[in-house]
């Protein structure tokens, strides 16, 4: 029986003066991949930012394993085991690959453990080991995405929020990233995946929510959503 890792209850948020989230409710069961679809500006990224504490919630709640984290500061949420990999990867371009990973493990108090986890990430992504002394900015787009995910894995989070991991990547690389996400999930990480590329996302996820102008307009099992005519027309390219 599966526990619910993350619950959003009627979450509202403002982005500047724009009412970006108008009451979002969704659930992410433990061990699953759930995807959040929608066109640009629908509020997908804002949803993730509100969960991770970058954007304050105006009302509603975020519960993480039953604990209300709506008002927690971003850095405290990380320590609880909820990690957000932001859109555009946001790696530290002037820092080396290894330093990027170390910072991912900032909340770890034990230096040895941190070193061990870096090794673990290198096992996951051998290409990062080759480039550990290079600065992050010199990596290719795909490698940067790997680094971003690897950095998030440093604390071995219970839940991973991924924002557009396929953005700007060529199809071949997208496939590799998706394979990695699947692998992490199979090892036990729960994933909330935001994607533009609905085709890819629905293939990976068990369940999907569709967001339009700050509201959930549709949800269901991925297989069902993939068949839905409206989805096909709007997001899968009819």
């Amino acid at each position: 029986m599966s526990e619910i890792a993350l619950v959003l209850n009627n979450l509202e948020a403002y982005y500047g003066k724009i009412h970006a989230l108008k009451g979002i409710s969704l659930e992410v069961p433990q061990g699953k991949i759930v995807t959040l679809l929608g066109s640009n500006g629908a509020g997908k990224s804002t949803t993730l930012k509100t969960i991770s504490g970058l954007v304050p919630a105006a009302s509603g709640t975020v519960e993480f394993y039953g604990r209300n984290i709506t008002k927690e500061k971003a850095h405290n949420i990380v320590a609880l085991g909820l990690i957000h990999v932001p859109e555009g990867r946001r790696i530290f371009k002037d820092l080396t690959v290894r330093e990027n990973l170390e910072l991912g493990g900032f909340t770890l108090k034990d230096e040895k453990l941190r070193r061990k986890r870096v090794e673990h990430v290198f096992e996951l992504f051998p290409r990062l080991r080759e480039r550990q002394k290079q600065s992050g900015g010199t990596l290719s787009g795909g490698e940067q995405q790997m680094l971003a995910i690897g950095r998030a894995m440093m604390t071995e989070p219970k839940v991973l929020l991924l924002d557009e991991p396929s953005m700007g990547l060529a199809p071949l690389i997208v496939q590799e990233i998706m394979r990695i996400i699947q692998q992490l999930n199979s090892e036990g990480t729960t994933v909330l995946l935001v994607e533009q590329n609905a085709k890819v996302a629905l293939k990976l996820a068990a369940y999907g929510y569709v967001l339009e102008t700050g509201q959930i307009v549709m949800n269901g099992d991925s297989s069902r959503l993939r068949q839905d005519e409206r989805i096909v027309k709007a997001y899968l390219g009819g």
Binding site: V78, P86, F92, T107
Partner: protein, 306 residues
């Protein structure tokens, strides 16, 4: 004096002056690096540091003496106190603006306000008086022909170098140092790593301000006289030094300080320039340097505007 000795002596002079500039420029550059703020109050923290050191020396002088032991204690206490003051300034004056994502110019003007406040507080408290720092340090030292270096000068330069090395280690090796560099690049991403950004910026202010305080105490001890506006000129010079080296760059600030010290020394000695025109000479070189290397010597080339 032969030309050789003059050059040697002037090199030493420039080095000592430059190491003070470096120490102050470091804090300037660190704060700039992390929140892109030209902290005009930095020179005033240097001044406050000198006064705290002076006060401590007065209080502890009776117990520890006014020799190296007393000075070391004054240095540490001043670094701690001014470090905390720097954190307070950050929390009270700058962080509210950062939270509101205020324009950088406003942040700069706030810094001018902080400078005014610190400067005038000390003026009112000291009634505008000059204070004389009395120590038991003498003028003995090493003489190479006409070239003189006192032990005090040697100790000052060594202490400065040690502080810089410690800072370098802190920035490069510790997690907080790495976090500081990361915040400079992308504060939001840092929040997502579990880094308490506000606290880390506060820590940067602590470190930067305590370095300024160290320089202030050393200047007080070395020169022997302090007053409430002593931070103004060094603030401008540190800013210049930080820019010469490439603002935001820690090694750049060190290098910039030394270069500035040497340039000023050279300007004083050179014919047709002399002390009257030495600042024109220094700024002239600075402008030329920036025209040809627009980001300073060790600066990163990135394009962005205020």
């Amino acid at each position: 004096m032969s030309l050789y000795y003059v050059i040697l002596q002037q090199l030493i002079n420039g080095l000592i002056l430059g190491s003070f500039y470096s120490l102050v420029a470091l804090g300037y550059s660190m704060v700039y690096g992390i929140i892109k703020l030209l902290n005009f109050a930095h020179g005033d923290l240097y001044m406050v540091g000198a006064f705290v050191g002076f006060g401590t020396l007065g209080l502890l002088g009776g117990i520890l003496g006014v020799g190296w032991l007393g000075i070391a204690a004054a240095l540490l206490i001043s670094m701690l106190a001014v470090g905390l003051l720097g954190m307070l300034v950050h929390r009270a004056a700058y962080q509210p603006l950062l939270n509101r994502r205020a324009p950088r110019m406003s942040l700069m003007i706030t810094a001018v306000g902080v400078s005014f406040t610190l400067f005038n507080t000390v003026m009112v408290m000291t009634n505008g008086e000059y204070e004389t720092v009395n120590t038991s340090l003498g003028y003995s030292g090493i003489s190479l022909g006409p070239v003189n270096v006192t032990y005090t000068q040697i100790v000052m330069v060594v202490a400065t170098a040690l502080l810089m090395l410690a800072l370098h280690w802190f920035i490069k090796r510790t997690m907080y140092g790495k976090a500081m560099r990361a915040i400079a690049l992308d504060p939001d991403a840092c929040r997502l790593m579990g880094i308490n950004v506000t606290k880390t910026i506060g820590l940067t202010f602590f470190v930067g301000s305590s370095l300024a305080a160290a320089a202030g105490v050393m200047a007080g001890v070395y020169y022997g006289s302090i007053q409430f506006f002593m931070g103004f000129i060094i603030g401008l010079k540190a800013f210049t030094a930080a820019v010469i080296g490439g603002i935001g760059s820690i090694p750049g600030a060190m290098l910039g300080g030394l270069i500035l010290g040497l340039l000023e020394t050279a300007g004083t000695q050179l014919p047709f320039i002399g002390s009257a025109w030495k600042d024109v000479f220094t700024f002239g070189i600075l402008i030329l340097l920036l025209v040809f290397k627009p980001t300073g010597i060790l600066g990163k080339s990135e394009i962005e505007r205020m």
